[in-house]
Subunit: 322 residues, 2 copies
């Protein structure tokens, strides 16, 4: 019998650092979370990561796990895999920070770093929604729209790993101003933030909407319109419009990458069939040469919050750098 | 000294079939053209291809070329490379047509087929504008917008080779009706046809435009607005607007694939710096995280009309199927 290998996965976020012990089959044995304290500087963030790693190692003894084959870290930023550098990260104020080297020096374990969106994409590709695909894309509908893709079995990186920015594709020429500087990006119409803002705007225009039952606008989330879509015309219109924008972005990606599956992650994806069924119909009808070419299946991501952890150790499990 | 290898390349178009003898370094030794006669059925098209091949073989003797290492055929349609099938082709009425097998049986030479847009992309990647890149995209601005891409050294195919449909990406939500059934596709704003139509519309609205010097609307092409852009306000406005639409489409591709180079082919690309310089500026300013990530260079394609022929034999030169 082959001995089971264990890895430490770190999902480094702007607010929280999530850590876990993951085995070679992507089972999560235990998890721990700690505050990032990114405002206190890079060295404090590093200290917190190391503290989390030590906690995980100590607690692993209870599971009879004494050795680790490596540490994988998912970082929200632009990564230079070869040199183990985080070139930049808006959330963490990293600037060419040698994070892999520093963790390696402190732990004496091999460390691999990967962009966090790519980590989630790989986790879903190998162990979740994309299992068995050759071509796969993942869209995370959150504050913005993140994503990643696998093409013919390999992660889509692009020059300096700067590709797969699915949220920053203009779908409305001269449309709403985006944080990236352009006008009309998908993110401004199909992120959770976009739906939340559209809901507030629509409620202000319609004081009779049943959505006002939630109290005031501070209680509005991207979920509100979905919650009221069966009983309120404004909510129904908001959901319908949201789905049409999202379908436009998904079909654009489908026509360029033509994956077998596009998985949706983030809170909104939890709406399930209310979202997926009309989306699938719109994409099926609008995809290029729909009669002669294979469909692209839209499904919800499967690993939810664990995708980041599992993805962080994928470079070890698959013995590749990304 | 290694003996030079020769291949026969066939660029199968809806109106004309172009054939050529190409050496292992992508030099074209001789070319011949014949009518496709696609309306007379698949077998007539096949007969014409075989006639062209025979002509090329006969004339090759004058160049002391007596043996060929294979025949490569670029086909405007969806290709099943493994089975040598053309699954469908709008221009040629092919429907699961076993074109590779039939040419092979008649010539006793190995035959490989490839989608024509992918052929041009490979030719530019290996021998033209994309030489030395890891990631490369190509856009052909013609009747529609065709294209292809190479990601990390490999052709972007997608499921059933249906990917890389760059022209069919919505940039104007609820915009102009596209031939693919959607509204607002890039092709409706940035193809040669789109510029030609926009020019006619603008001239109808402005009878004082200097562009009327060309006589009547039948003489209008995509070139007209460029020809008059320095002396006519309407023409200048048309060119400016065209470049902004094209830049939007190019930046969308750049944000998803982040190639080192995007090459532009087709008649409009011959405008050179008048087109490329403002395009490059717009893309540089709007690409995601422009300060932290590498630029995407926009250049004109280099092989022009020979890209189809050279690309058709690339599967032999590179000893790969695409």
């Amino acid at each position: 019998m082959k001995e089971q290998k264990y890895y430490i996965g770190i999902d480094l976020g702007g607010t929280l650092i999530k850590g876990g012990v993951v085995d070679h089959n992507a089972n999560i044995i235990l998890t721990k979370t700690i505050e990032t304290q990114s405002n206190e500087g890079n060295e404090q963030v590093l200290k917190n990561i190391l503290k989390l790693i030590n906690c995980l190692i100590e607690e692993s003894i209870n599971f009879n796990i004494n050795t680790f084959a490596g540490i994988g870290v998912g970082v929200p930023g632009v990564i230079d895999t070869e040199r183990g550098l985080c070139l930049c990260s808006h959330n963490l104020h990293f600037n060419k920070y040698e994070i892999a080297k520093k963790i390696q020096a402190a732990t004496n374990l091999e460390v691999k770093i990967i962009n966090d969106a790519n980590a989630s994409t790989l986790a879903e590709y190998y162990f979740g929604a994309g299992k068995g695909c050759k071509n796969f894309a993942m869209l995370t509908l959150g504050t913005g729209i993140g994503g990643g893709a696998v093409i013919d079995g390999r992660l889509l990186l692009g020059n300096s790993s700067a590709g797969a920015e699915f949220g920053h594709s203009v779908i409305c020429y001269n449309g709403k101003k985006c944080t990236c500087g352009r006008n009309g990006c998908l993110e401004q119409y199909a992120s959770a933030t976009a739906l939340c803002n559209a809901t507030k705007d629509a409620m202000n225009l319609n004081k009779q909407s049943k959505m006002w039952e939630v109290g005031n606008l501070k209680n509005i989330t991207a979920k509100t319109a979905f919650d009221y879509s069966c009983v309120d015309e404004t909510a129904n219109m908001l959901v319908n419009s949201y789905i049409h924008y999202l379908a436009t972005g998904i079909t654009n990606i489908a026509n360029v990458l033509r994956p077998e599956i596009i998985a949706l992650g983030g809170g909104i994806a939890k709406q399930g069939n209310v979202l997926i069924e009309p989306l699938q119909k719109l994409v099926d009808n609008s995809i290029f040469a729909s009669n002669q070419t294979p469909k692209v299946k839209i499904i919800t991501a499967k690993l939810e919050n664990s995708a980041g952890l599992v993805g962080a150790v994928c470079p070890f499990i698959k013995n590749k750098n990304y």
